[in-house]
Symmetry: none
Subunit: 420 residues, 2 copies
């Protein structure tokens, strides 16, 4: 089914608000196996809206239109629809009745501007809006069905879920040759997009029913798999087979699927191992602690984190010997190791993690330029491990990747420790 | 100037991500006096992208295209552009050189999929991307100029601000009959939008050339002033007069203007006072430390932050007496005060800040339900002050407002201390 969306409103093209109605509708349609082909946003300009309605209805079988159904002077989407269809724009007795009931129920007289909402294109079908005033309006233009919805997200979603999607679903189910889809997002860290592509690309030919896609969401990279087949069982089967292959080549870099978030996944792995964690952060300045504690219930695993932004506090809070700082400097593997061990000792936790480095833009040395970060992991089942990393990019990016890499050292360790 | 946007990517039409690049660009263009006429989102489908490029370039003078410039198999926007322009799609020596340099700088061999990014439509102009691999590409199609940008928001914004907008602005300035605009964004914290509206609304009638707008950017609220006039001098004058009036009614809640960010402003106030700072965070879990250390040079002011996520660490790192924890609990004004004083003592700083509370969704007591937060400030020139706050919303929101309120206690104290 060819579906397009048209969203109207000056607020959508002047940067005032981000259009989230489309995202919501796209996801609901995708669940039904429909990939939206095009989304168009136009301002409150009559000829632009009329033109966009004509174009979309000439291409698509279904067009969902949002915005411009309200009572104010810049609400004229249905007037444009009447112009596009070449029919009169006139008051509808049913809609008028609904509006009168709605105002009466609130003990208010209906005001003249609200009466604007009773006008619809002749021949269109109004459907009552139970959470607002402007009705859903359904209009057929050539071979296209257009659904007009209010742009207010609450009303948009209620009418979409209650009225529009059930109609689309019924039509899909009545069609022969319907395509079924299944979807999986695999989330990785520590794997550049180009490496992921190289690893996964050879698999595509073995899975002709699956579309492979990539998405960067720093510091993560995601692999999207979408299977299409003539039945849901076949789509699910094709997806499962592709997922097994992809997980095999991506290995432990996959930390989760679909809606999984990194910090809850890591806390869960720690929790299942019965382990606790402490951190000592220099250049990441609390970013790791903040990620972990953003998760409800983190306190069962995370005991404490020291943001040691001066040499003095590296010694005072996590016991880094002043000799080490003097001899090797605050940015060194020796200091990172002492920090991880010191955080673990101070908090009495199973594991200790630390980060120290040059996030930039200032600082750095010829041997350790800006972007150099030492990440360390201490624990009862390993010799304290330190990795020297070199991250490109600005301060924000260096901190982001440094925090991510440090946590990932721990996750990888827990995974390998859990293996028989 | 007729401007349209075209965003490509399956993730934009399947509900995976909301397109925020457009919102960003629309707002920047609006500041230049340009209202975007149409935004089109299409999936990764070659004929759809080619068709959309042809349509947009037939209507608009400028089209900004985002997405599909990367190294993977679903990146083919420039290939579609070459098809739309009827020119060959070929490797460009300049782009190839930039890619080689970028990989060499990271000590990596260039991989074959990255080489895809060196191909551009013949006759187009590549501009180097300093924060990523894929370049900006500028192509003229008929009377339309098309700018192709990577869809990754960080790269999109850097190339937009650094390369695309200056070119558009230069073209606008060369046109006759233009309207001159002047802008000011006043940034506040601790002031609800409705209160700001009540304070500022009476001023609007005295400033007919100025449009007043409000923007919520939790935990901040911003007042946007836009003056329009036939000359730049008049626009600047009208803006300056409105700004003086607004600053008068908003007072010290205004922490900055335009691009000012809260943390750098606070660090600057501290630095000018010759003061240093330490923090002890419980429910905000490092959020305050992370905000401050995200600013380059924070180490001259910020000495250390303890994320004390257990009673034990509240005593060990910032010396909260166990009797206080036992008698008043970890969420109490007594604990908050001991934490602020303890952080200050441990780090030897001028000021100490602390936060402890119930961020939710679990926890809380009948007297101190979820959302209750105690924020404290200790320093040499005041009796340690604690404020009990009650923040609505989910865990993320409670943490955000708790961190913001705690920092703002310090900023307000420094402002009043600096007054004669």
């Amino acid at each position: 089914m060819r579906v397009e969306l048209l969203c109207t409103g000056d607020e959508l093209v002047t940067g005032l608000i981000t259009d989230t109605n489309s995202t919501y509708l796209e996801a609901r349609l995708f669940d039904l196996g429909v990939k939206v082909e095009r989304v168009v946003l136009v301002g409150d300009v009559r000829p632009d809206i009329t033109q966009a309605l004509l174009e979309a209805s000439s291409r698509a079988e279904v067009v969902v239109v949002s915005g411009g159904l309200g009572p104010t002077a810049d609400d004229f989407t249905l007037e444009c629809a009447a112009a596009a269809a070449g029919v009169p724009f006139e008051e509808d007795a049913r809609v008028l009745g609904w509006l009168q009931e709605r105002y009466a129920a609130r003990g208010l007289p209906i005001n003249p501007s609200a009466l604007r909402m009773a006008r619809i294109p002749r021949g269109s079908e109004p459907v009552r809006n139970l959470v607002g005033s402007a009705p859903l309006v359904i209009l057929t233009l050539g071979r296209c069905r257009l659904f007009f919805l209010p742009g207010v997200p609450r009303e948009f979603r209620a009418l979409l879920d209650g009225e529009v999607l059930p109609r689309i679903q019924a039509e899909l189910e009545a069609r022969p040759g319907r395509v079924f889809r299944a979807f999986r997002l695999l989330r990785t860290v520590g794997l550049p997009e180009s490496e992921m592509d190289l690893a996964v690309a050879p698999l595509a030919s073995s899975h002709p029913r699956v579309v492979f896609g990539f998405r960067t969401h720093a510091p993560e990279n995601h692999l999207k798999l979408m299977a299409e087949a003539p039945s849901q069982t076949e789509a699910d089967g094709a997806l499962a087979a592709a997922e097994v292959d992809c997980r095999r080549v991506l290995g432990a870099r996959v930390f989760g699927a679909d809606g999984d978030e990194y910090a809850p996944v890591l806390l869960d792995v720690l929790g299942r191992a019965g382990a606790t964690l402490a951190t000592a952060e220099s250049c990441t300045g609390g970013l790791i602690a903040q990620w972990l504690t953003a998760v409800a219930g983190a306190s069962t695993v995370f005991v404490g984190g020291a943001v040691v932004y001066s040499e003095k506090m590296k010694s005072a809070w996590v016991g880094v010997p002043p000799e080490i700082l003097e001899r090797h400097s605050a940015v060194s593997s020796q200091t990172a190791i002492a920090m991880a061990e010191g955080a673990r000792a101070a908090c009495g936790t199973t594991y200790g993690l630390s980060v120290t480095g040059y996030a930039g833009p200032g600082g750095g040395t010829p041997e350790d330029p800006v972007g150099t970060v030492y990440c360390a992991l201490a624990g009862p089942d390993l010799v304290t491990r330190c990795e020297r990393m070199s991250f490109p990019g600005d301060r924000e990016r260096v901190r982001l990747f440094a925090a991510s890499h440090t946590l990932e050292m721990l996750r990888q360790h827990l995974l390998s420790a859990a293996r028989p």
